[in-house]
Amino acid sequence: MKQDSTTNAPATPWHRDPGVRALIFQAMLLLVVVWSLGTIFSNTVTNLENRGIHTGFDFLHEIAPFAVGFSPFIEFKLGESTYWDVFLIGIQNTIIVSFLGIVAATLLGFVIGIMRLSPNWLVSKIASVYIETFRNIPLLLQILFWNFAIFLTNLPGPRQSLSLGETVFLNSRGLYMPRPVTESEAGAWIVIIVGIAALIGCVVLYRWAKRRKDQTGQSFPVLSVSLAIMILVPTLAFFITGSPVGVELPELKRFNFEGGMQMPLALFSLWFALSTYTAAFIGETVRGGIMAVDHGQTEAASALGLHRGQVLRLVVVPQALRVIIPPAISQFLNLTKNSSLAVAVAYEELVSIWSGIALNQTGQALVIIAMTIVVYEILSLTTSAILNFYNYRIQLVER
C-alpha cells in the first residue's frame, strides 16, 4: 500500500524533499558558523597588525619585571622568575584559597543547615538570621567589609602583635606560625613512612570493626582508637629517630615578622568572606536535602531506638547526600570563581596577578585571557568530576 502511493505519485522535486532540504539548511548553517568564526579570527589578526601589536606565547619566557609576594610552594625570585612562573603562582594561589574555602564552607554550611532544622527555637532562628544576612549582601561588599572594616582596623601592627606563647603571631599583616624544617632527611622519611603505615593500619581496623559489627552487632570505638594510633605512633617514631624535624619560628625584624609559615591577611580575609558567604547557600542546600528525606524514615529509625544523632548520621544524612551533592557542586564552583574578587583586598591569585598585572605589563590580552579561561575551565571540570564520581558512589542502588 505504502509502496504504491510513492511509486504512483509524481516524483517529488529535489528541493521539496524534506530530507534534502534539511541537509541543505544544515550545510548553510555550518557555512555561516565557520565563516563567522573565520571573520572574527581574521578581523582580530588584522586589527592587531594595524595597531602594531604582536601576539603569541613568546613573552612567557621573559623575566617578570615585578614582584609576587605570596607563594608558599613555588619560589619567586625577582629578576629570575618568568611570566610562566607568575602564571603557575597565580594558579597555585587560586587553588589554595578555593580549597580552604570549600572545606570551611562545607563544614560551616552543614552545621548551619542542620541547625536551621533544629527543634530548638533559638538555634533554628540563629541559623535563619545567619543565612538571610550572608546570602543577601553582595560578596564583594562582604570581602571589603571583613578586610578593611574588621581585620585591618582591629588587628594591631607588627610590633604589637597578638601572640600565642610567642610562637604564633597575629597582626594586621597576617598570621605567622612556626614552620617545620627537616634536619635529617632520612629520619624525616622514616617518620613519614611510619605515619602512612599508621594510616593504613587505621583503615584495616575500620574494615575489621565494620565486618565484626555486621556479623555480631558489637560496635568498636574506631574513631578514638584510630586517633590514638595516628598521634602516638608517628610521635614515637619522631623521638626514636632523634627529632629529624625542627621548627623555624617567625622572628620580628625591622618592619615585620620574617621566617616561619605565613598567611597574609588578604588570604585570611578572602577565605573568611568566601566561606561564610558560601556556607549560607550550602546550609540551604543541606536543609533542602534533609527535608527531601521522607519523614517516615526518621520515625522508623526512632522506632528502632536510635537517638537523634544516630538518626541523622545513619539514616537521614546518607539519603539526603544524594540530593545535596549536585547543587553543592555548583556552590563549590561558584566559590572557586568568586575567588577572583581577591584583587579588592590584594590577594595574589590568578585574576589579580595574571590577567591583571601580567596582562597590563605585556599587553597580551588575547593570550592571557584565553589562558585564564582555560585554567578556570579545568579547575571547574575537575571539581565537578570528583564530586560527580562521589555522587555516583552514594546513589541509591536500585534492586
Binding site: 563567522s36 592587531l48 619585571p65 609576594g69 625577582l78 618592619f255 596582562l359 597590563n360
Partner: protein, 337 residues
C-alpha cells in the same frame, strides 16, 4: 532555523564592519561629544569637585580637545578607568582619548599600539611612610611591605629599585588609588609608593596627614601625558597640538580673560596665528580656525590649568621641571606656524 540564519548573517555583517576603523575625528563629530578615559580619583589630576564636575589637569586636556574639535568644552563624556583597564579601553575604541596620568615608555609606545602625544605633567616616583617607623631614606626599606597600584610603571620601578639595591619587599597590590591609600592608612603595609605629585595628593586624604612623610628619593622618570591609538594620524596631530596650544598660549601671554581682547587688538603675529586671526592653522589640523581660541577661552592656558588644579595641593611650579623653558623648566612646545 531561518531566524537563526538571519541572526548569524547580521552578526557576521557587524563583525566585517568593525574591521575597518573610521577616523576618530569623524566619529567624535558625528557623535557630538568626546569620550575621554580618565582616573577620577586623583585630586589635582582628575577628581570631581563638590558640585560633581570633573576637575584636574588631566581632564582639562579632555575639555580642551572638546573645545578645539566641537567648539564646546563641556561636550565630554568621562569614562573612569583603572590602571589595568586603560590601554585595552583605548585600543578597543571604547574611549577616544586617554588622559589618565599615564607614563610614556618604549613598550607602551610600540608593543601596545599606542601613541603618546606630549607631556602635561613630568613626575617621578617616590615613597611615603608612617612617621613613627623612623625611616629617613628609601634605602632603609629592606623587608618592608609596600602598597602599590597594580598595572602601573610604579610597580616596575619599585621592583627595579629594590633589585638594584639588593633589598627585599612584600608587594601589596590594589586595583585603585583609593584602595591603595586605604590599605596604607589602615596598616596593611609600611610604605605607599606612587608618583610624587600623587603622593602629595594622597597624603592630604589620610586620616592623619601629619603622621606620614614623603621620603626624599625620586627613583624614576615619569613623563605623563595624553595617549591616543596608533594608526590615526589626524587625531594624533589634533590631541598633540591641543596640548601644544595650551603651552604656547601661556608662553605668548594669552589667558582665558584676555583672549577676546587679544583676538581683536593684538598686532603680534604669534598671537594672531594662535587665535586664528591669521594663517590656516585650524584648517591644516582639519579643525575650525578658532580651535585654539576656544581652548584658551573656555579652559585656559597651561599655566592657568596648573594654577587652578595643582597649586592648591602645594605642588609649587616656579622653577620646577613643569615650568616653561623660558623660566627654567623643560616645558617646550614647538611653534604654531
Amino acid at each position: 532555523m531561518n531566524r537563526l540564519i538571519t541572526i548569524a548573517l547580521a552578526a557576521g555583517a557587524v563583525l566585517i564592519g568593525s574591521a575597518a576603523t573610521a577616523g576618530t575625528l569623524e566619529d567624535v563629530k558625528k557623535r557630538g561629544h568626546l569620550i575621554c578615559g580618565i582616573n577620577n580619583a586623583v585630586p589635582g589630576f582628575s577628581a570631581p569637585d563638590d558640585k560633581g564636575k570633573m576637575q584636574g589637569i588631566d581632564v582639562d586636556v579632555c575639555y580642551a580637545t572638546a573645545a578645539a574639535v566641537l567648539g564646546d568644552a563641556n561636550k565630554v563624556e568621562f569614562t573612569p578607568l583603572t590602571a589595568k583597564e586603560r590601554f585595552t579601553a583605548l585600543s578597543s575604541g571604547e574611549v577616544d582619548l586617554l588622559s589618565r596620568n599615564t607614563t610614556h615608555t618604549l613598550h607602551r609606545d610600540s608593543a601596545l599600539g599606542l601613541n603618546f602625544t606630549y607631556y602635561n605633567y613630568i613626575d617621578g616616583q617616590g615613597f611615603m611612610v608612617k612617621k613613627d617607623l623612623g625611616v629617613k631614606s628609601a634605602l632603609e626599606l629592606d623587608g618592608a611591605a609596600v602598597c602599590i597600584q597594580q598595572g602601573t610603571t610604579t610597580e616596575l620601578n619599585l621592583a627595579d629599585y629594590f633589585r638594584s639595591n639588593n633589598m627585599k619587599y612584600q608587594p601589596i597590590g590594589y586595583e585603585t588609588a583609593p584602595q591603595t591609600r586605604d590599605g596604607f592608612d589602615k596598616g596593611a603595609c609600611d610604605v605607599l609608593t606612587s608618583d610624587k605629585s600623587q603622593l602629595a595628593a594622597q597624603r592630604t586624604e589620610l586620616k592623619n596627614p601629619d603622621g606620614a612623610i614623603i621620603l626624599p628619593e625620586i627613583i624614576s622618570k615619569e613623563p605623563l601625558g595624553p595617549v591616543v591609538r596608533q594608526g590615526d594620524d589626524v587625531w594624533f596631530n589634533i590631541v598633540k597640538w591641543v596640548l601644544f596650544a595650551m603651552i604656547n598660549a601661556e608662553e605668548a601671554g594669552i589667558t582665558s580673560s584676555n583672549a577676546d581682547d587679544m583676538r581683536k587688538n593684538s598686532k603680534n603675529p604669534v598671537v594672531r596665528r594662535i587665535l586664528g586671526v591669521e594663517g590656516e592653522m585650524g584648517r591644516e589640523l582639519q579643525l575650525s580656525s578658532d580651535w585654539a581660541y576656544n581652548i584658551i577661552k573656555q579652559v585656559g592656558n597651561y599655566g592657568e590649568s596648573y594654577q587652578r588644579n595643582l597649586e592648591p595641593l602645594g605642588i609649587a611650579r616656579k622653577g620646577s621641571v613643569n615650568d616653561l623653558w623660558t623660566r627654567g623648566g623643560i616645558l617646550y612646545a614647538p611653534p604654531i606656524r
